[in-house]
């Protein structure tokens, strides 16, 4: 027993020392990393609820659960994000403005062509319209499927939540209300994202009845 210890004492000592260092790093940086995750989602709430044109060029300030859209130092809109008391397995944000609900934002995940696609979907308060979709992470083919993160995604805004969106391949810009124009050369990525949006919207429509929110935000 002792001879093994004599051989391995350095490994044990290094393990303990470095374990302590890593614990220290995690304690210091852990909160900042979590904050980054939340900021990533919150940063996009104004554009999902207000529409991309209204948010273009403005500065977004996040303080706790309040997301402020600032232009030239003046606050244009202040949203308060309320999370459900009984959270589901995906993030749901009830977005309120001036005490009234302005919309919903839900997180959706699904399989893309290459890897998982994570996106935020903005819905109107009555769940009838998709107010916007924003891709948070994707690992699709660079310059082809990765275009789901380009202005291509703006065509989701304003589409009706029912019936489910359909992907078409014409170049006419998809004027019909429930059609999405595919990215040329990236049909599967376009299909995957649209399926993710359709499934998430349908699931949320069923789940929303079971959600409970603190009423304090509404009484403001």
């Amino acid at each position: 027993m002792l001879k093994y210890f004599k051989q391995g004492w350095l490994v044990i000592a290094i393990s303990l020392a470095f374990g302590a260092i890593l614990a220290g790093v995690q304690i210091t940086l852990g909160p900042k990393i979590k904050e980054n995750q939340i900021t990533k989602s919150y940063n996009r709430i104004p554009l999902l609820v207000m529409g991309r044109e209204n948010v273009e060029g403005a500065k977004i300030v996040i303080k706790g659960d309040d997301v402020t859209v600032e232009r030239d130092g003046k606050a244009q809109a202040v949203f308060t994000v309320v999370k459900p008391e009984n959270p589901l397995d995906y993030d749901v944000y009830k977005v309120c403005q001036d005490g009234k609900q302005a919309g919903w934002v839900i997180l959706a995940k699904g399989n893309g062509y290459a890897d998982e696609i994570v996106c935020l979907i903005g819905l109107s308060t009555d769940l009838k319209t998709i107010t916007g979709v924003s891709v948070i992470s994707q690992k699709e083919t660079p310059n082809l499927g990765s275009k789901i993160q380009s202005p291509w995604i703006n065509q989701f805004a304003g589409k009706a939540a029912n019936p489910p969106l359909e992907v078409v391949k014409n170049k006419s810009g998809a004027p019909d209300n429930n059609k999405i124009d595919a990215i040329s050369g990236a049909t599967i990525s376009s299909d995957s994202l649209t399926t993710i949006v359709n499934q998430a919207v349908a699931k949320f429509a069923a789940d929303v009845k079971n959600l409970k929110f603190a009423t304090a935000a509404e009484e403001k």
């Binding site: 350095l10 470095f18 790093v25 995690q26 940086l29 900042k32 980054n36 990533k40 310059n143």
Partner: protein, 211 residues
């Protein structure tokens, strides 16, 4: 006793071109092929590898007399893994976009052969100064390797460098057609292979001159 072997200056110079990790030693091919689609990602990877290599070389060199030979790989891996984790957390906290883009390739620095090779060949045998010089030199060499491949790939695949679109403006008559294949995996292999051929040709010319 542990100072025979190349001097610090020799180690430093060797790491940049004569023993370049990408083109001469052909090590660390995985990140070279994976992250060189853009210059920004390549620079982030190069700096992370530099941090890990320098820190691991320092630690290994300091404890080199205590390491039992049959446990050395274990010890190297432990040390490298710690520094890679620190780098990973640091990136996730302060450069979240880059961290998302690089994804699993930052933790994969642990198995980057360049780092463990330098630990084995230099840091475990020489004192602090040559080990640090070696790490710095090899890091610069790796950065050169990554950036050379990334420059070619990003310029030809997206018409930009460091995300700055160059004189090919989107929509104008001189818009670059974009060889999208170079942004994908096959393009990485093509580019690396061709550049390695160029490097060998240049190296051979140098040797002929010296001979």
């Amino acid at each position: 006793m542990s100072n025979d072997g190349p001097t610090s200056l020799e180690r430093f110079i060797n790491g940049i071109l004569p023993e370049n990790p990408t083109y001469r030693q052909v090590l660390g091919m995985c990140p070279t092929l994976a992250v060189t689609a853009t210059m920004k990602a390549s620079m982030t990877m190069a700096v992370s590898v530099a941090f890990v290599m320098i820190c691991s070389n320092i630690i290994v060199s300091l404890i080199r007399n205590l390491i039992k030979p049959h446990l050395r790989i274990l010890v190297f891996t432990l040390i490298i893994a710690t520094f890679v984790t620190i780098a990973d957390k640091f990136l996730a906290a302060f450069m979240p976009d880059m961290s998302d883009q690089l994804g699993p390739y930052i933790p994969l620095i642990i198995v980057n052969c360049i780092i463990i090779c330098r630990c084995e060949v230099c840091a475990a045998k020489q004192s602090l100064a040559p080990a640090v010089a070696d790490a710095v030199g090899q890091s610069i060499g790796f950065m050169l390797g990554l950036c050379s491949v990334a420059t070619v790939r990003e310029l030809l695949a997206s018409g930009s460098w460091f995300d700055i679109p160059l004189f090919w403006k989107e929509g104008s008559s001189t818009e670059w057609m974009r060889w999208a294949i170079l942004g994908l995996a096959p393009g990485a292999f093509f580019t690396l292979g061709l550049l390695m051929g160029v490097a060998n040709w240049v190296g051979a010319k140098f040797e002929k001159k010296a001979a």
